[in-house]
Symmetry: C2
Subunit: 195 residues, 2 copies
């Protein structure tokens, strides 16, 4: 997705060979117009998949997921990273380790909002090691929901997550797939559109 | 805002005289079409305020804020509830106590995204005791930004936050202001549109 890649090239900050900071439009400050474009792009790519719900993870997944849900005409459920007092039981949960934050979180959703009747699009802002996506797959398996595919805004294609997920047969759509981060530069892969 | 009030009446769950659960369309599952309507409503109410940025708080503030930002044509910044490893210093921070979660969090934003040049609309999903809004006011005062006003999706008008904030002279727009929660029923106040 060219407009996203241009934004990454102009505003992304390469902090190391593994860390790309996109806080100016996705992870801290959000560009709503770009999110709308991202939503339209995912809706186009997953058109005809009979999606009934989108599942994402707080917080940075919410904006692109809501814009995609708006275009597809389906609700978005965001998994929470810890239990709150108003969501105490009746949950599907999974353990997710964040390599960025070096901590483990339980992610969970209420059993009220995803069921075996649902065909779900999993979405997230970043895909690196795949921990968050595997956590969401785990949750959807508990709910016996069908997984339509996985929509990722930015994939770190040089890490293992995308490969592992595709090897398990999931359809992954990545809007900007990064081949390499080095010397302050971002090199993109060609877009992955195959299973 | 009638469509929101109808949604609260049909899907909200009154768990006690102080707790209203709206997990089916705002706080856990999100209704993107309703969020778009909410965004348009806030944009209409704050038209002419020369807003340059929206400040909200993760996670439930993000969806309504992004939709408002889309209509107003301005970026959204969401304050984070704890520091992450990629956002370690160069922050404006404030302490916020959550009565719902019975815990204190530090909320913070990067100094990169709000400055003394900005006129900011503060947004949040709920207003009860006002702790989160006062935290965001604190942050904006540190940044020397102008505060255009405060946009709240659901106000618990029977708690003190809204009164305290209005007494300090802030312009507060509330889309659904609740006078009372009792016996499973929600009673709304008239909408507050005055300073």
């Amino acid at each position: 997705m060219d407009v996203l890649k241009q934004k990454i090239l102009s505003e992304g900050k390469v902090l190391s060979d593994t860390v790309l900071k996109v806080d100016s439009f996705l992870n801290h400050q959000i560009d709503p117009v770009l999110m709308q474009e991202i939503g339209k792009e995912f809706a186009q790519r997953f058109k005809g998949f009979d999606i009934t719900k989108i599942l994402t993870l707080e917080s940075s997944g919410i904006a692109p997921a809501v814009m995609t849900g708006l275009t597809l005409g389906v609700p978005v459920v965001f998994a929470r990273k810890r239990k709150s007092l108003t969501l105490t039981d009746h949950l599907y949960s999974a353990e997710v380790y964040s390599f960025t934050k070096k901590e483990s979180n339980e992610i969970s959703i209420s059993q009220d909002f995803i069921s075996s009747e649902d065909t779900v699009l999993i979405m997230d802002d970043f895909l690196a090691n795949g921990q968050a996506v595997f956590g969401m797959i785990d949750i959807l398996n508990q709910a016996k929901a069908r997984i339509a595919g996985i929509g990722i805004v930015i994939e770190k294609g040089f890490q293992e997550g995308g490969k592992k997920i595709r090897q398990q047969g999931y359809h992954v759509e990545t809007l900007a797939n990064i081949a390499k981060l080095s010397d302050g530069n971002v090199t993109f892969k060609k877009e992955e559109t195959c299973i």
